[in-house]
Amino acid sequence: MNATDGKRTLVLIRHSPYGSSLARASVDVALATAAFEQPVNLLFVGDGVLQLLSGQDCEALGVKNLGRLLSSLPLYDIDHVYVDAEAAARYQLDLDAAPVAALPLDPGAMAELVSTHDHLLGF
């Protein structure tokens, strides 16, 4: 794999953490892209912002804690993490307490962000 190829990928996470298997897959894709040293940014959109809720405890469910997985993002070389400000406000999300620091964007800024990437992977 040629790391200098430099195709910029934006991973859009649109699903809540435990309602579907796509949520886990989207985070795994983001982590894999970073692990292979490809430029990648992350955007939580709509219900995807619910992955940023603090205090996720899924021990009783017997599934992977996605909040904890997200808190490992700084260990990977993910350039930037962004969040849909409208959706975060709709769910009264405390972004300061989120498992990973995310920069809030309004719809115009999100559209702008989308337009600056080569590939878009939406989950």
């Binding site: 859009l12 649109r14 959109v45 709509g46 219900d47 849909d84 409208e86 719809p107 999100m110 559209a111 989308v114 337009s115 990437h117 080569d118 590939h119 878009l120 939406g122």
Partner: protein
């Protein structure tokens, strides 16, 4: 500019989120349950019209849904038209 593809009902969160990111200069291809958003005269269609994006609907899916003759103002494309759109727009984003 971005080619958006929507494969979800106009009542879905995917539709609402897609609409917020859709800008003039983008294209939106409606497929699967997304074809119902093309229905002329309906409120969802009006929302798409105001986005300024170019609107397309996948022929076979629209035909299956029974809406093919009710999508005035939306361009009907077959699979080759879909491929052509993917050539013309630098990136694609799937909403579902």
């Amino acid at each position: 500019m971005t080619l958006h593809t929507l494969n979800a009902s106009p009542a879905s969160a995917a539709f609402a989120d897609c609409l917020r990111l859709l800008t003039a200069g983008d294209a939106l291809l409606l497929m699967g349950d997304g074809v119902y958003a093309a229905l002329a005269g309906c409120s969802h269609r009006a929302e798409l019209d105001t986005s300024g994006a170019m609107l397309y609907v996948l022929r076979d899916d629209a035909a299956a849904a029974g809406v093919l003759d009710r999508v005035d103002g939306v361009t009907v494309v077959d699979i080759d038209g879909f491929v052509t759109l993917s050539e013309q727009y630098a990136r694609q984003l799937a909403w579902f």
